[in-house]
């Protein structure tokens, strides 16, 4: 289960968050935990260099992409390596939507499209589509494989 996907800006404001199967009362904890994690570790990290953390049996993989940081939290089959796959799909799709590394402004301008993209990547806590062309097609309401 991918428990959470979270985008934050460099100041720690949360831009997008998607929780799956996380009780409301725990979301606040996760949010602040992830933001704190990023604030402590993401300084000077290269774009798309993956960082890892864990809490009990839950894994966290996070990275920087332009002005935004991306966090993915998962458990069970979504261990740190599977999350690395997930975050790779997410970052490449976001880059695809933004056309380049997103600045915060660019990210917000493409906000709706990014939400739809995420919707195609993660569906009810499971990774769905990984191919970015396919994701792009699905976001435009085209069939996954075109003829």
């Amino acid at each position: 289960m991918i428990l959470a996907v979270l985008f934050a800006n460099s100041e720690g404001n949360i831009l997008v968050e998607r929780f799956n199967g996380v009780p409301t009362e725990e979301r606040l904890h996760w949010r602040s935990f992830l933001v704190k994690l990023g604030a402590e570790n993401l300084k000077g990290v290269k774009n798309e260099e993956l960082l890892v953390a864990s809490h009990k049996s839950v894994y966290i993989v996070y990275t920087v992409l332009g002005d935004v940081s991306v966090y993915v939290v998962g458990k069970d089959e979504y261990d740190e390596l599977a999350l690395a796959e997930v975050i790779f799909v997410i970052t490449s799709a976001v880059k695809d939507v933004c056309g380049k590394l997103p600045t915060e402004r660019l990210f917000l301008d493409k906000y709706g499209r990014i939400c739809l993209t995420l919707d195609e990547i993660i569906w009810q806590g499971y990774l769905e589509n990984t191919d970015k062309d396919r994701i792009r097609r699905l976001v435009r309401l085209k069939p996954p494989t075109e003829f």
């Binding site: 009362e25 960082l51 906000y111 569906w123 085209k142 003829f147």
Partner: protein, 1196 residues
């Protein structure tokens, strides 16, 4: 929420608005009203609506909704008016004022634009401005649904439609409880509640959901070719509808199966390279798209294990050309396989055969699909139900082994984990041990090369031992720069260690040495690299360094070189990776090897301030788990735990540490107990940090308590250790007053102190050592430590026999004198402020302790005088005399119970000589051993002790409050227990605590604590009504219940409170020594169970040997319960065995139908019965289930 710096996401989004097409704005009603803000209150609110949920928001939202309603109506009326200007005017206005768009505005815009969705500009507005901003809110107002559905039916624009499906899915997903929807961002209020208030314009979820579902269902079943993209999206949106709704669920199954029935059959085999590729004819592509959509939906539906068509469709999916569909299908099947491996294996049939679809998955470019394949293969290849089909099992097994060569680490590691026997966290030791066996002994034989293989692959097709492949892979992973890879590799090493520990615990290594060598010989002929590997690991180890250096290909050699790489990974920047590495090292640590290296690694790691507390506690919990796997390592692990105590006292949970001490102490066995106790109390040898002079202190014994917080925490640890020592010293030393045959030391009174100490230490060095430590703490610790040390000493004094009690008595006396001498005279007048200003400051505290010991000694003296008088005069004891004696006994027992737990049935405050007399009295008066606590004597006892000697009640209260708080801080180990259990079970996904809160336990007031004690003792009393007789087995049963109730209430982490099986196990290690310990998994569970503190079931009386009073002897069986209504003495009950019963334990008795038995007593559904002659098991007496015996009322 999202705004840690005061700005909301909406602020951010609208802060720098994109240029808006400036259209001519006409004055519509809403824009006018918002311009003249104050004019209409219903219109002002939406403009200034805060995105935070406040009390006032409900009203404003309601107003907003009303306005939406009004607006929509007016829009409908004024059809000629170009309504799209509404939003544009808003935008314009916003641009001017830089105000964030409110939810109400967005909602209104959607309503308006939906009405004109055929116009291009409306669509543009929706796609570029309205929908993206709406995405910011984490739930969607159901009142938007009609407009969304309208858009769905009328709009043609793909982007608009895509958004419509997105929002419809979110409306469906919103389960009403705001928490469970997957949305994010700014919270929106509870729309349903809002709609209830707003009776006029309210649209509730209940209203719209059926409409949405109907609409989506229609679309999902639309077979129009051109429509199929929308069909997929509709199906996807439908899966978000609440899974608890059976109606929708069955509809969904119907749709999905309907699609799969049509397109699921793929008679022709998938062509190579067709995965995800473009091209192909239109029909097959549409078919593949529909297959994908259907399987994706199926994956989100609940598993339906019994349903053959569910399984059939899932299995079909493996052959689909769409890679995502294949992944989903494998995921579903591997989940199903856990429930019913046989059915799945049969359904898969030929797919696993060479050239089958399952083997194609090996080359599928989808990591998660291959991960699922690994799981599936593991489940089937280890399924018991397939034992009769070794061919199937070996096919799957071979696929699993091939996955070890997978280019993706994720897949390879999953395969390793599967081979190691780890699938979830519920594996048994045997499974893990078998996993280690598999890994170290099995060989990967690749099937015949496929036709298109090149010569290069020739080399890898040689059979390879798994261990070698795994080691190579891990070593190369450890050289990776990617932190997730490092973390995962370290985790795999940890799991390897786990399986290896399990194998060692089961003695697998020794059992199969021969087979091991042979198997490797077979390999040797095939693989020349392996010629040095015919020695099993154990031999290799013991033969010394020379071999280890040369024998790179032995398992030991490979492990050694792997561990070398692992150790270097400690240099990783990331603490989480390091933590995982340390956990791996702890698990890979062999009990027979030196752990100096590990120790120094941990010590140097802990000096790094970057470690978060939770992570350190995780490592500490790993020590717990390691101990559970290998109890032999108790002392080693305690030494490691000690490093935590000294290095990072501020970051670790004292309760967890204390629990570890306790677990290790219990598990260390009789020989290790002394060492274990020493290892624990080594914490006490640390010099206490002194307030104000922390900096100069860090160098001493490497203690790091450089800041006040950690100094305080270290202090707490020391307190915990002192308390632990007091509570458990008697256990560790196996010294109990009620077992001691030494008469209370009237003779020893004559000895001087030095000789006494010498005598004590020669008698029991463990206890003497503990006493010395406690005494030092009582002198030199901080006041908190001194208080606890005095308490601990009292506990030990009460529980120990002579000469220890006397020694402590002397010591306490000296302590009290030292502190009190200067002030005692004025103490009554003092307000207590200067307590502790000189001496030890413990005078007030110690006085009641000394008093209780005084009373015991006085009473003992009196008793021995009385006995002498009676003996000299050759008098019988009169009833009054006995009564007086008995009352003294009970009174003292009550007093003693105030200080620490003692088994009331056994404890003899008057010394062993009183046992006979008290028994006589009890027998005469039908008194059960444990009565007395419930009467007011206890409360008087408290007041006697606490207040009698100290008229200044207020003063003593304050002190006691402190005491109790200190106690309470140390006692509550239930959270720690939960934490450990959770960790051992591998559970725990709850959110981390960011604030590192160290002291967050509720303080317990003195009154509460005693009130609870009294309450508990009443329960105990009730339990004890059933039992009687000073040392008959049932009274030991009552000891057990009273322990649990007593300690359950007080949360003592005492050894006495642990599960009785454990206690028995620890005190009688012979019972479960060696290999037998692990043969029975339930026994193994019990072995570690001190971690659990649940009310114990009744267990055999024999377990309680240590509680037995040797003086009471077997004669005491004649003092039987007389208040028990079933059994009255002199009128024994008889019964006949109704059925055959086979004894299940040492304490049970086998019965043959019709056998006559004499029923001694009943306890917890069991009769203790005697037979006239020994039965099948050669026993005469024992426990049998009540239902197996029919009682005959008459006596014979």
């Amino acid at each position: 929420m999202a705004d840690s710096s005061g700005t909301t996401l909406m602020d951010l989004i609208t802060a720098d608005p994109a240029p808006v097409p400036a259209a001519a704005s006409s004055s519509s009603s809403s824009s006018a009203s918002s311009m003249t803000a104050a004019a209409s209150p219903s219109a002002t609110h939406p403009q200034h609506l805060s995105t935070k949920t406040t009390l006032g928001e409900k009203k404003s939202k309601r107003a907003a909704l009303m306005q939406i309603q009004n607006d929509t109506i007016s829009v409908a009326k004024a059809a000629l008016n170009p309504v799209r200007t509404n939003i544009i005017s808003h935008q314009k206005q916003k641009q001017k004022q830089k105000k964030p768009v409110s939810y109400a505005q967005l909602a209104r815009s959607i309503h308006e634009l939906a009405a004109t969705s055929d116009q291009k500009s409306s669509q543009k507005q929706l796609v570029h401005h309205v929908f993206p901003k709406l995405a910011v809110y984490n739930s969607v107002d159901p009142s938007l649904a009609p407009s969304l559905l309208m858009l769905d039916q009328q709009c043609e624009d793909r982007m608009v439609l895509r958004y419509v499906y997105y929002y419809l899915a979110r409306i469906l997903a919103d389960t009403g409880s705001q928490g469970l929807n997957p949305g994010g961002g700014i919270p929106t209020p509870n729309w349903d509640a809002l709609a209830d208030i707003d009776a006029v314009g309210g649209v509730t979820r209940a209203d719209v959901v059926p409409r949405i579902v109907n609409q989506l269902t229609t679309e999902a079943t639309n077979t129009d070719v051109e429509f199929h993209a929308r069909r997929l999206q509709a199906l996807k949106a439908l899966t978000y509808s609440s899974s608890s709704n059976i109606e929708i669920l069955s509809k969904l199954y119907e749709i999905v199966f309907g699609i799969l029935d049509k397109v699921g059959d793929v008679p022709q085999k998938r062509k190579k390279g067709i995965f995800g590729a473009k091209g192909g004819d239109k029909e097959s592509i549409i078919r593949s798209n529909l297959q994908y959509g259907a399987l994706s939906a199926l994956r989100r539906l609940p598993l339906d294990p019994g349903n053959p068509s569910f399984l059939h469709h899932a299995v079909q999916g493996i052959s689909f050309p769409d890679p995502v569909a294949v992944r989903h299908s494998l995921e579903i099947i591997s989940d199903l396989a856990i429930r019913d491996p046989y059915a799945v294996a049969m359904a898969l049939g030929k797919l696993v055969a060479p050239g089958g679809a399952l083997l194609d998955v090996l080359h599928l470019h989808d990591v998660l699909a291959r991960v699922s394949l690994a799981r599936l293969c593991h489940t089937i290849s280890t399924a018991r139900s397939l034992d009769e089909r070794p061919d199937i099992k070996s096919q799957f097994n071979s696929v699993l082994y091939q996955l070890l060569l997978d280019p993706s680490e994720r897949v390879c590691f999953e395969a390793i984990l599967c081979i190691l026997g780890k699938h979830d966290n519920t594996e048994k030791t045997e499974e893990r041990a078998a996993g280690w066996y598999r890994l170290t002994r099995e060989i990967l034989k690749l099937p015949e090369a496929p036709s298109n293989s090149k010569d290069k692959s020739q080399k890898t097709r040689r059979p390879q031992p798994l261990i070698k492949l795994v080691m190579r892979r891990l070593e190369s992973s450890f050289r990776s720069f990617s932190r997730p890879v490092l973390h995962a590799a370290a985790r795999i090493v940890q799991e390897m260690g786990r399986s290896r520990a399990a194998a060692h615990a089961l003695g697998l290594q020794d059992l199969d040495e021969g087979a091991y060598g042979n198997q490797y010989d077979a390999v040797d002929s095939l693989d020349s690299d392996m010629n040095d590997s015919s020695h099993p690991e154990g031999i290799r180890r013991t033969t010394g360094v020379s071999n280890a250096a040369g024998g790179k290909d032995t398992i030991a050699g490979m492990l050694a070189s792997l561990m070398e790489v692992v150790r270097t990974t400690v240099a990783c920047e990331c603490v989480y990776v390091r933590a995982m590495v340390i956990k791996g090292l702890i698990w890979m640590q062999s009990p027979h090897e030196s752990f100096d290296e590990l120790k120094s690694i941990i010590a140097s790691e802990l000096s790094d301030p970057a470690w978060p507390a939770t992570l350190l506690n995780d490592v500490l919990l790993t020590l717990h788990a390691r101990f559970k796997a290998t109890p032999d390592m108790a002392v080693t692990l305690l030494e490691l735990a000690r490093i935590f105590a000294t290095k990072v006292p501020g970051k670790i949970d004292a309760d967890v540490l204390q629990l570890l001490w306790k677990t290790c102490l219990v598990g260390a066995g009789p020989d290790g107990k002394h060492t274990a106790l020493e290892a624990v109390t080594i914490v006490l040898d640390l010099p206490p940090p002194q307030p104000g002079s922390m900096s100069g202190f860090t160098s001493v014994d490497r203690v790091s308590a450089s800041d006040p917080k950690s100094a305080l925490a270290l202090q707490r640890l020391v307190q915990a250790a002192v308390w632990f020592l007091g509570e458990n010293a008697n256990y560790a030393a196996s010294e109990y007053a009620w077992e001691s045959a030494t008469p209370p030391g009237t003779a020893l009174m004559m000895l001087d102190a030095d000789k006494m100490v010498a005598a004590a230490s020669s008698r029991n060095p463990t206890l003497a050592g503990a006493l010395t430590r406690l005494q030092r703490c009582a002198f030199s610790g901080s006041w908190e430590v001194r208080i606890i040390a005095a308490q601990a000493l009292t506990t030990v004094a009460i529980r120990s026999g002579e000469p220890f009690r006397l020694q402590i008595y002397e010591f306490l006396h000296a302590l009290a004198q030292g502190g009190v001498q200067s002030q005692l005279s004025e103490m009554h007048l003092s307000n207590g402020e200067d307590q502790g200003a000189s001496g030890t400051g413990l005078g007030v505290l110690i006085t009641p302790m000394i008093k209780v010991l005084d009373e015991m000694y006085t009473a003992q003296d009196d008793l021995s005088k009385e006995i002498r008088n009676h003996d000299n005069a050759n008098k019988e004891w009169k009833d009054e005399e006995l009564k007086k004696l008995y009352e003294t006994h009970e009174r003292l027992l009550d007093l003693v119970s105030l200080f620490c737990y003692v088994p009331r049935a056994k404890y003899l405050p008057l010394g062993p000589i009183s046992a006979k007399l008290i028994d006589i009295y009890r027998t005469r008066h039908n008194i059960s051993a444990s009565t007395g606590l419930s009467d007011p004597a206890v409360s008087t006892g408290i007041s006697d002790l606490v207040y009698e000697s100290k008229p200044a009640a207020a003063e003593s209260d304050t002190l006691d409050d402190d005491l109790v708080n200190v106690w309470a801080a140390n006692l509550g180990d239930v959270p720690a227990v939960n934490r450990v259990n959770e960790f051992l079970a591998g559970a725990g996904t709850d959110a981390p605590d960011v604030d590192e809160n160290i002291i967050s336990r509720p303080s317990v007031s003195y009154d509460d604590m005693w009130a609870k004690t009294l309450l508990e003792s009443t329960e105990m009393e009730e339990d004890d009504v059933r039992s009687s007789g000073s040392s008959s087995p049932e009274s030991t049963g009552s000891v057990e219940t009273s322990i649990s109730s007593h300690f359950g209430g007080m949360n003592y982490p005492s050894l006495f409170s642990s599960r009785p099986t454990t206690y028995g196990g620890a005190s009688q290690p012979s019972e479960r020594s060696g290999g037998s310990r692990f043969n029975n998994p339930s026994m193994y569970e019990g072995y570690g169970s001190p971690i659990r503190e649940e009310p114990p079931p009744y267990t055999s009386p024999e377990r309680y040997d240590s509680f037995e009073n040797p003086l009471a002897g077997h004669g005491s069986h004649s003092f039987q319960s007389q208040d028990d209504d079933r059994v009255s003495s002199g009128n024994p009950q008889f019964g006949t065995a109704l059925y055959d019963f086979t004894a299940g334990g040492d304490d049970e008795l086998s019965l043959t139908t019709g056998e006559e038995v004499e029923i001694e007593y009943e306890v917890d559904g069991w009769f203790y019965v005697k037979k006239k002659r020994p039965g099948r098991d050669g026993k005469m007496a024992g426990l049998v289930p009540v239902l197996y015996v029919s009682q005959s009322s008459g006596s014979t």
